[in-house]
Symmetry: C2
Subunit: 334 residues, 2 copies
């Protein structure tokens, strides 16, 4: 359990431990025979450099704190996957924290990460209020927000063009012949406001009536969508398509529709948003708007690295393009 230190190999090599350190770090002021001898010895003795000691003097931990509301969420776990891969490829490790449902815990874990001396923080915020929530800390450490649009807050973030996503989605439905499109979802967070805006813009452009059905749940989940959809379907269905603000909601709608024998897509077309893996499953085959999660993740760590390594001070709002994934839940009318 006792690990071998620089001092140990120095003693074995008959040099000072400064020399060993330099040999390992490839300093030019070390003779090549000495270097090779030392490196070989390190290998034999199983030396691995102690990163916490190194962090101490370097004032840099090569650690990125990743805070997500819940890693079991498909959207976030995919972001996390690409973020970790990309970070590690650049020498950083990820410290993972679930911020759970409440803002208090989000604040707690950010504070905790600060104590851990992370070089930067990558955060998938719980809501648009997260910015206010952790503002006290964001000037103490490079931070980039991921997945949520913070509008013109003075913070770096990367997100998709949510408004454009719903726009191209409704345009798609319009082109399919739909004239009565219901928008299903909440509009509390900025992200969802923007999604609603894209729908509204398309409606205006194509001369459609704007019709909203708002979920009052704070979190969009399959079950919440299901509950709301049951309510929705208990009333007359005088629309031919539903645009669900998230895939989770769409899945809930799908469940309710199946239960109430409302055929999707024959009776009703349905489109979601996010393109979480579940939407591609057999029988589900949900038409949706893709968020380029991989690009989002790697761009976010690139931005963070830039802040960390170059001390870049300003903030950048990176808005990536969503795309339409045509699958089986939308049908052409007539």
């Amino acid at each position: 359990m006792k690990s071998v230190t620089l001092k140990d190999v120095a003693k074995a090599a008959g040099v000072s431990y400064a020399t060993v350190s330099r040999a390992l770090s490839g300093s030019p002021q070390i003779g090549s025979e000495t270097r090779e001898r030392i490196i070989k010895l390190c290998d034999e003795m199983g030396y691995t450099t102690n990163y916490v000691a190194r962090s101490m003097v370097m004032k840099k931990t090569d650690l990125i704190g990743l805070v997500v509301p819940s890693i079991e969420n498909q959207f976030m776990s995919e972001l996390a996957y690409y973020a970790e891969m990309s970070a590690r490829a650049h020498g950083y490790n990820i410290m993972l924290c679930n911020s759970g449902p409440d803002l208090k815990q989000e604040k707690t874990v950010v504070k905790l990460l600060l104590g851990r001396q992370v070089d930067g923080i990558l955060i998938v915020p719980q809501s648009s209020r997260s910015y206010e929530n952790i503002r006290a800390y964001t000037d103490q450490v490079p931070t980039v927000f991921l997945g949520e649009n913070l509008r013109d807050q003075p913070q770096s973030y990367v997100t998709v063009d949510n408004s454009r996503g719903t726009y191209i989605g409704t345009k798609y439905l319009y082109d399919l012949g739909h004239r009565d499109i219901l928008y299903f979802g909440r509009r509390h967070s900025t992200t969802h406001q923007l999604r609603a805006e894209g729908y509204m813009r398309a409606c205006q452009e194509f001369g459609l009536q704007q019709r909203f059905f708002n979920s009052d749940f704070s979190r969009s989940s399959i079950n919440n969508g299901y509950q709301m959809a049951k309510d929705l379907f208990s009333r007359p269905i005088d629309y031919s398509a539903i645009f669900a603000s998230t895939d989770s909601n769409a899945l809930g709608i799908l469940k309710a529709a199946d239960e109430m024998h409302i055929d999707i897509p024959d009776r009703l077309s349905l489109i979601g948003f996010d393109n979480i893996p579940s939407t591609g499953l057999p029988r589900i085959d949900l038409t949706t708007i893709e968020q380029p999660k991989r690009d989002m993740a790697v761009q976010a760590v690139d931005m963070l690295r830039d802040k960390i390594e170059n001390g870049t001070q300003g903030y950048v709002h990176q808005i990536l393009l969503p795309s339409l994934i045509k699958r089986g839940t939308c049908r052409a009318l007539d």
Copy 2:
């Protein structure tokens, strides 16, 4: 960006920094007025203790390395979620590493975690060979394996009773009247060998013929299952039920069956293993065997904590009970 240290608040309080440290750690040998004054001051000055410095002297980082093949996998992200929550509740933070598909990278990240001085490692192994793969490191740091059965290797692990899982699954099919049950999946890893064994045991007990269709893919994914199932369904279907060794495979089978108009469950009953969230989706509604992921995760961190904090030396094999989740893909015959 410059953070405030013990020395800073010591100067402000007019005491030595040892006193501040003691006040914060609740040492009994500090006057209560001094303590409160110092604590208040720390608050005002925004002091947070530097964990890397603390780790240096304490020889303990309160860090647990979590290595999973891929965090985007639903099974693993759920394990990770509960593991992180439970770990943090006990004062530990999680360092996340994806080990990817190859053993080399698994070894690399474990080594990396060692350099980071983690107190322990929680690993969801890529296969049963992972034990051999990282054996060189498992005696340098407390380690527990999660999700894979290592049989009687001298290592701690927590897993489900895989054999029992397939046993109760086939028994369920038998009770439903099925007499020709095909087992679909590979048998390379120990886990899958055990699953096959449970099926075989049930077949023997109920006098059924054992019928295997082996996937030769090393990873079970929806697409691999789909490819194999297309092959399978191109031959005569002289069985009434399929036991898929994983939910992913089952989902692939479902897709192929739908495409080839083989009705599930009417023509064919289908049962999976793992109970990943996708199986509960509308229209999917896959009958499956549940792995108690939450219990597995918290038990694993409990075991790890025990090793870390009490220096427990032996190893324990924790085998949890699987359970049958009855859903819509199995039908009673006649």
